[in-house]
């Protein structure tokens, strides 16, 4: 399915369930999402991991409503508990089956996002492992001088920004010297078509969520 259409559909679903108070709908979304993930050969371990990770915040939200809520406390507590899982699993159907490269291609080719944004962000994204390493280096360099750089130390962020400025200029130069011209028309090696099937799935999905929200009398 076209990545940007899939993202839009999931975005709308996430927005709508943020305002709904239907527990069964949240659970139905989780089950549908697990089915979709299994169809796409996601490992059971990954799905198990997705069940464990949100448990602590979900319990936190549950207990907040249960102890300090007003009105129907039990209902609201379970709505929020299941809503977190609905967010996580619908989100996983996107992040576990689509990568950022496909999304950037789709946004650029189908929605005319200026190519400098698509490729600029991709260039930065590919440095993620290097960035994690660099943070360790900055911290280690601080320790050698007896400075403990914690997440509230301005110096840690200052050094990270210095590195970012340096790398961003190098990367931009490298891209320009390889023929990348800002705002110039481009041809594409990877094509990302937007077919009528994508729109069909989008409209059906959108219809189903409205059905679940407003028509089906969940008990």
């Amino acid at each position: 399915m076209n990545p940007s259409i899939k993202l839009l559909l999931l975005f709308i679903i996430a927005l709508e369930i943020s305002f709904s108070l239907i527990i069964s709908l949240n659970i139905a979304l989780v089950i549908l999402a697990i089915g979709y993930l299994l169809l796409h050969h996601t490992k059971c371990r990954t799905i198990g991991w997705l069940l464990i990770v949100p448990l602590l915040p979900a319990i936190g939200l549950w207990s907040t409503q249960y102890i300090n809520g007003t009105g129907n406390k039990t209902l609201m507590a379970w709505v929020l508990f299941t809503r977190i899982y609905a967010f996580v699993f619908t989100g996983a159907t996107f992040t576990l089956t689509t990568n950022i490269l496909q999304l950037a291609d789709s946004l650029e080719q189908n929605w005319h996002l200026p190519s400098k944004f698509a490729y600029g962000v991709l260039a930065a994204y590919n440095l993620v492992p290097k960035i994690q390493h660099e943070v360790k280096i900055i911290r280690a360099a601080g320790l050698m001088r007896g400075q403990q750089l914690s997440f509230w130390s301005p110096k840690l962020y200052f050094k990270a920004i210095l590195v970012s400025i340096n790398w961003s200029q190098n990367l931009a130069q490298a891209m320009t010297s390889h023929g990348f011209v800002e705002d110039a028309p481009r041809t594409h090696y990877r094509h990302c078509p937007l077919r009528w099937q994508d729109w069909a799935i989008f409209i059906v999905g959108l219809g189903l969520i409205q059905l679940g929200l407003f028509v089906i009398p969940w008990s």
Partner: protein, 191 residues
């Protein structure tokens, strides 16, 4: 796409890199969040963990708006940080993206109401306040805050603003002061 013209390739890469760097640093704070949530859950105050740390997570947007001084830089800074986080550390899925939009727009709003002229304490305080209001409005729905007792809502709001002001305001100012003193921004940004 008039606003896009002001952006250069190196600005876009810079803002994305800063978002990822900050994300990598914040990963080290996850244990603080977990411990606080676990400790406060039995008394039903686990939201405080979120409120205390939220300023930190909103910092990329506020800092980008303050540092780059381009229209849309706060929104874009936070949105890019959220997009990368969604793919990379992404257990929160799509709601990360929605949070990114609300946090970024909240930060931007502070610079909009001060007409992109006050890059001082006024602008920072305005940005901290609007970020607090916009994100709080969103949490009324998403985290079911509208069902909470009033004293708790007020407590959460005040703690959230303090966190925004401390991390997004004071820490941002300390960082940008260091950048000013080192004259690194002169070569990239003239205004």
């Amino acid at each position: 796409m008039k606003w896009a013209k002001a952006w250069q390739l190196s600005d876009i890469i810079l803002i994305a890199l800063i978002g990822i760097f900050f994300g990598a640093i914040f990963m080290g704070t996850n244990y603080v969040y977990d411990v606080l949530t676990a400790a406060l859950a039995p008394v039903g105050l686990s939201g405080l963990a979120n409120e205390l740390l939220l300023g930190l997570w909103c910092m990329p947007g506020m800092l980008a708006g303050y540092m780059l001084r381009l229209k849309g830089s706060a929104t874009l800074g936070e949105l890019l940080a959220a997009t990368v986080e969604m793919f990379f550390g992404g257990q929160w899925g799509i709601s990360t993206l929605i949070s990114g939009v609300t946090q970024g727009f909240g930060a931007e709003l502070g610079y909009i109401v001060t007409r992109y002229k006050h890059y001082d304490w006024l602008g920072l305080t305005a940005s901290a306040l609007t970020t607090t209001i916009v994100t709080f409005g969103w949490d009324l729905a998403r985290n079911g805050y509208f069902k909470l007792q009033l004293w708790l809502l007020i407590l959460y709001f005040v703690v959230r603003f303090c966190s925004m002001f401390l991390f997004g305001g004071v820490l941002t100012r300390l960082i940008t002061d260091m950048l000013d003193r080192s004259h690194v921004l002169k070569s990239t940004h003239t205004n």
